[in-house]
Symmetry: C2
Subunit: 211 residues, 2 copies
């Protein structure tokens, strides 16, 4: 079996997106994070900023999930509609060319594909707080609280759509602590594992110039 798809799920502030980008670049895989958002925006008509905010969040605390906000899509809530659209896009992209896909329950959506390798990236709270403030530029007086809230949202969203626990080791082929291995070190481990398993290298397009 040759790995054609790598899904990278990640804790907020773990550096998972940067790691995913390094992996895609090195393997010559397409890189889908913002590109996926853009595609969803195009297909749904929502703004990219709206999709970025709501594409991985779902739960009773969220106004958009309430029925009164949902009548336009055959009784579907906005997020359920977004989930459904993102799911189709992920399935389509996975069929197209070797790629790295960040988040959006892609590990679950592609769980039955034999050519997919599923990765989870986590880090300690201190490193995540530091990264969120200094690298992502998030404005917050309490970064640890911000992180915990984001974890909670992702967990809720994941449980709602997959009936599985977000961040449970069992969902992924490998879970890595980027605090211990570093951003480049973690990317190197994933690249090496994929190569050892056999990767459809070079078949894909160059990584999207997303930054």
């Amino acid at each position: 079996m040759s790995i054609r798809i790598i899904t990278i799920s990640r804790e907020f502030g773990s550096g998972g997106r940067s790691i995913a980008e390094l992996v895609a670049k090195e393997l010559g895989f397409a890189f889908y994070d913002k590109a996926l958002i853009a595609k969803a925006a195009e297909r749904t008509g929502f703004a990219e900023s709206f999709i970025k905010e709501h594409g991985e969040q779902r739960g009773p605390n969220n106004l958009f999930s309430l029925p009164f906000a949902s009548s336009t899509y055959n009784g579907m809530s906005t997020e359920d509609y977004l989930w459904s659209m993102q799911r189709s896009i992920i399935l389509e992209l996975a069929d197209k060319a070797p790629c790295v896909i960040v988040g959006r329950c892609s590990d679950y959506i592609l769980r039955n594909r034999k050519d997919a390798f599923h990765v989870f990236i986590h880090a300690n709270h201190e490193d995540r707080a530091e990264r969120v403030v200094n690298q992502y530029g998030v404005q917050t007086n309490n970064p640890l609280k911000t992180i915990n809230e984001e974890d909670k949202k992702r967990r809720k969203n994941y449980r709602y759509y997959t009936d599985r626990e977000w961040g449970a080791a069992d969902n992924y082929n490998v879970s890595l602590d980027s605090s211990l291995f570093g951003i480049e070190g973690t990317a190197d481990l994933i690249i090496q594992m994929a190569r050892d398993l056999g990767v459809a290298e070079g078949e894909g397009p160059a990584a999207d110039p997303e930054e």
Copy 2:
């Protein structure tokens, strides 16, 4: 920092114990699984079979946790007593020499040691069922049920003593799917990661001849 301790937590039937043994042998680390049970037996006076059965299980469904069974140890239940003894033994062993420790919440007990590397091994249900029957020789008509029950017990025990979720990727530095990487492949990955991080190799005694 040099890795002196590797804790290997594992799903029942994932081959985690065999993997741990390979890692210990290759790195020249002491291997503590049965040796730990023997030590706990010596110190508590319980039979090894009793410790094997109860040393990783605790929960409301377990008779031994009921107060009426616990009066002999200052009001402590048998399992709480066993937990406490196993905890001291793990802390002592970790101080002594480079070692690989299997299960028994050792990841939690040694969570603050900078020289510890924490690993979780999981596998898919089919492979675990096959291993439990054909390699561990467990007598069962329904191996999938046996596995789920064992998972449930470990989860309950872990949550009770650590207030954390068993098998959550966050608890470990790396979690690996032995179904994908194979037993030797998984061991090789752990050995290589430890060496990359810097390992106190060769300092330890030869692995205990536990088999």
